[in-house]
Symmetry: D2
Subunit: 397 residues, 4 copies
């Protein structure tokens, strides 16, 4: 990616940090963050990132961040994503990065001090508790069933969540609960802040997902009579769905940035492998079918970046950009998956072993076609928008 | 496409011109430019375009053009391409548009007056005579076999060309011929300007191609002892391959612009069809499989534009952008073909009839995956570049 | 295809006939049957086929046919389909072939003499008038709107049809009309036989479709008070939908047979082209990307045949085989289209000209993904069946 | 699959065995055979299979097998493959099944007693030691570098192997070593039988592959001065490449059989999930995009089976069937991968967790596109064959 000139230095330093300090651990533990040390590893790597001036590049400057906008953060996040542990090491991982953005937009000054500051400084992690088991909130957030009832001085939250990324070991949660309306109605949700050690929060289990690099895992949680004081209501009561939208677009795009880095690594590893390996009496990299795999990867990576940068420019211009981010997310999740699949194929037998880092990237990347909206849900929304825009007026051609 | 603000007015006026003056003829004659009147039609439509201030939007201002750079011409060309006759009507068709660009870069002041001016003002068409029958210049220009021998005061050109777009009725040709070296060597070519009525030029036949909207057709030519005076050598002797590169990148991108317009029309027609038609008791446009076709079209159109605009920005910044234009061309040719194929499928039986404009667009668009470099040749070049860039230096993964 | 031993001789003689007598005309006229002579050509070629003992190989022996079952006719039809005019030349074209099958199953002995015999002997063509303009019978036959009202000694038929293949010049029509029920109900249709010159039949126009090889075109018809005597009711009143099913499965498969031949020709032409043509200093056929196109064609052709033969075996065993024929039709229509597209790409510039027969085959084949059920409708039916079969009973996974 | 009537009972009993005895263990241990008990589990399940008369259905009857030919074993193997542990449980796993076939064709009577009998009766496992690290035997077996030198009464084998499936815990190995010629020559290989505990065999390590269900893993081995007596030479000296071909075709097809079962399970699980789950106010299974995923799976499964059964019929007829098995293997490996990918997508978030068995099947299936010949190598061979068959004679069409 041709980085904006004023971040080229940050990008270069990020790449150096990743290569020197992060990739060795990533590869030694095959991308398994728990095996590699979990939060101990995180603290160690973030300390190093902080000393290099690379921690939280998207964070507000008042809390030590670099304040990069979407366009500028794209190449930095991609460089960080080159290692599966890179986003954690630089404190730009999901869900923290999206939560930080949300808090920066919505939090009160007390909440900024209590929650946003520590998050930006890497003092603790967070989780975003929205998704619920069927028939609750999933691809359709309006199905939200977790309830918050008014009590004196606050709210009492009861509900069941799963796929809560990073929940184990998080310092606090942002919890979506219904303060009015019924499941199926796209209104009436409120966001609550809750320290992870608040009474009434139970971590039921870790879902055994294909990926292993996300610190804190993907957890099932129960909230039983969790009491949240009024001070910890995030934003206005009943506006939770609107805030979720604020969080959504940028969060989609930062996923694309990070996964672009990981997919690029798989591609680069495969190209170097193909350049070194002989097959049929030629360099593998000179065989036409290998060239096709390589070229298709170049095309998919370039198209992903072009769509990403277009969406980032819209977001930086203050637009909601829901069409652009939806297209970029859907395209990227599928294209990057193809990139890693082709890289696997290029590496032959070693491509499905831990001797090369391709296999682990495939394992981590696959779920991106499902979370933050499955490709099918994005396509449904894109089609409805197109029909409305093109056929709304009955103009006949 | 979100057009640059300072061309939004030109885009809007282009769309109005296309809809009011061009589409009716296009549809009446099913995109067959010969049936619709050929050069008589061209003159009539260009007169109208001129009167609306829309002729040759990319042309130098000294000759009445609007002087739009690549980024600015993109949305204008796309709006023109909405009709198969639109590019001809606004004098921004291939090969004239690429020839104009080349002349603007390389021509002497006499050549500017004699060739560039009339071309920019729509007073006559041109052709670019490079491609030869096997085993001559094709995907590999270095195979060039047409010869130019030095004679007193000029050159004598002999050779065989085919797929020369727009040759029938052109006012002049730009002819690539070998002034030194042997077929297979990527050096030694020179460009010559030749009035179409010069002795020694024979139009052998029209190739019977699937497309019918290109005025002047795709022709087979012979040059037998064509004499070209020194004044009509275009640029330096032996630098023809370098000039061909100058022409190539922008010409690829303007193809993408024009065909994006045509493909978008197919998509829009199909969406409106699907919004009007009932199937299985629902609107066709509300059925999931139809929505998938529509959404995939939106994604392909958006990715095409994002890659196009990225390449245009590089070209406008003075870069050669050969990787970016190669990726954009390859992706676009395949993506736009998919768009029109999905539009066909959405329209059902009527999609393969002339009752809707989809079928003709499919017919016109298919060859774009072959000319200006078949997708396979672009992939070969992209793969070689990637191997060189990634594996050339022994940087550890 | 490895033909059943007892038809190998017929296949070989078919191939010889096609090559000697049919392909030269096909290629001379670029597959345009009207330009090539229409019914005059048909009579001439069928006379030759008859003299070679190759006419109507699927026809009942009592009428001079060869009585081949589905399994045996497959390689013969494929060999005939190698030329776009081959099926007409051997009287095994749609819709005649399906109509013959239907008459053989359902017709009275008088109808056999009057309609089936002449059809089997190639004395005249037929058409099958079912499809109607929206909102009538199309992908959903139950939408049938053409009405037949009881009159003394017969029925009076009124309605509007389109896409009636072969209608212009047909000797008789089989007309689907509603004798009871309402549009949307999958019952109440009846089939009627009507000589083409019966009063009340109007050929409105030829639809201008992409294909040009089907004799009699694809027509729009009107029936205005067409009187059909009781003797010309085909089968039982109100059982028309059931008879349409009888016709449907085999008719789908014979389309696959014929188009397999056409696609195979495109593939073979392309492979020979690639074996002769040099590119990048090697035979085109030895370049990896060309090899991939060739191999993918081999795979698609083989899979098409395997699915076809499986469905034919089921049909010959007396099964309705609606799942197998639906899968084979859907796969084949898409796979053969891919085959021809890859062949086009292999042939480069010539692939989109009439200098090679690939382009015309592409043009003829594309509609097959739409008629006899668009791919989307087949997929809808296949999915419903799968859900019913797999999830109907509550068997635990 | 419609099984041959005389194996329907075996298929039904296989399915019952799998469901009752094998799937519960498979699912409890997420398909990790080591965690589930390794060879202890194998012995326990095979004892149960033996008592049900289902052990080694392809084995010679003299050793207690059922003697099923390729056509008959297909539905049985598919039913076994429904569980990742099923092939092990019924002793029809790779590489034992291919080794048994090879021994049955080539072994001396002493070798039959010593190696084939125990293998057929499930008394011990085997491995096939051919593949070597680069630049040794891989996709190109002729690159074989392991050497066997003549010594008194036998041979001394030295070499390096990897990806030796089932090596850890195997009772014996079949070792490919070069007895004449040089790496790159497709001649001069010999097969040797060696008990796993023979001196000179070192199990270097387990490759850490994505799959975990293959007992004995995929190992790296070294042979250092391994002495093989003449009695343990398998077949004739220097004919090893020919025997490898004997083994190859059927082994490819039994892989397809087993993986068809696994992919079918993923599909069935996904369809049942989609039938139970509500989304957007409808059953997920009734949404068009879900229907498309389901239908495409049905098509891919059917085409895989049709190609498989065609190849099996050729093999049972005594043909080498290298084209048919190459096509079937290539298509199946890609199609079944698509099936499982679509099943994953249908199951949404749960599709990438161990709560459903889809994710583990994806992990196990992916390498099949690489082993037994990567898709690219098969395509290369198919293209060369097509060019030779179609363009060998210079017939021009």
């Amino acid at each position: 990616m041709q980085a904006n000139p004023d971040v080229q230095d940050i990008v270069a330093r990020t790449s150096a940090f990743i290569e020197e300090a992060v990739l060795p651990v990533d590869d030694e533990y095959d991308g398994d963050v728990t095996a590699a040390g979990g939060d101990d590893l995180r603290v160690r790597l973030q300390t190093e990132a902080r000393s290099r001036g690379l921690l939280t590049p998207h964070g507000p400057m008042e809390f030590g961040g670099l304040g990069l906008d979407m366009t500028r953060r794209a190449p930095v996040f991609e460089a960080a994503g080159y290692s599966l542990f890179g986003p954690m090491a630089m404190n730009l991982n999901a869900p923290d990065e999206g939560n930080l953005h949300l808090l920066d937009q919505v939090a009160t000054s007390i909440q900024r001090e209590r929650y946003l500051g520590p998050l930006a400084r890497g003092e603790g992690r967070s989780a975003f508790a929205m998704t619920e088991p069927a028939p609750g909130a999933g691809s359709d957030p309006a199905a939200l069933r977790t309830r918050a009832e008014r009590v004196d001085g606050g709210w009492r939250v009861t509900g069941h969540k799963h796929f809560i990324t990073g929940a184990d070991g998080a310092a606090f949660y942002i919890v979506m609960a219904r303060t009015s309306g019924e499941p199926g109605e796209a209104r009436g949700a409120t966001m609550f802040l809750a320290p992870a050690d608040a009474p009434g929060i139970t971590l039921v289990r870790h879902l055994r997902t294909s990926d292993r690099s996300m610190i804190g895992g993907h957890c099932e949680l129960r909230f039983d009579d969790l009491l949240v004081p009024d001070d910890d209501v995030l934003g206005e009561v009943d506006l939770g769905f609107a805030y979720a939208q604020v969080r959504l677009g940028p969060a989609r795009m930062t996923h694309v940035m990070r996964w672009s880095g990981a997919a690029r690594r798989a591609h680069e590893v495969a190209v170097r492998y193909a350049a070194d390996r002989m097959a049929m009496g030629q360099r593998l990299a000179d065989l036409g079918m290998a060239q096709q795999l390589i070229a298709d990867n170049e095309i998919d990576l370039a198209a992903t970046r072009a769509l990403l940068m277009d969406a980032c420019a819209q977001l930086d211009a203050g637009q909601r950009a829901s069409k652009a981010t939806s297209i970029a997310k859907t395209f990227a999740a599928e294209a990057l998956d193809r990139v890693v699949d082709r890289a696997t194929q290029l590496c032959g037998g070693l491509g499905v072993t831990a001797d090369l880092p391709v296999m682990k990237i495939a394992r981590e990347l696959r779920p991106f076609r499902i979370y933050d909206g499955p490709s099918e849900v994005h396509r449904w929304a894109l089609a409805r928008r197109a029909v409305r825009d093109l056929a709304g007026a009955g103009r006949e051609r």
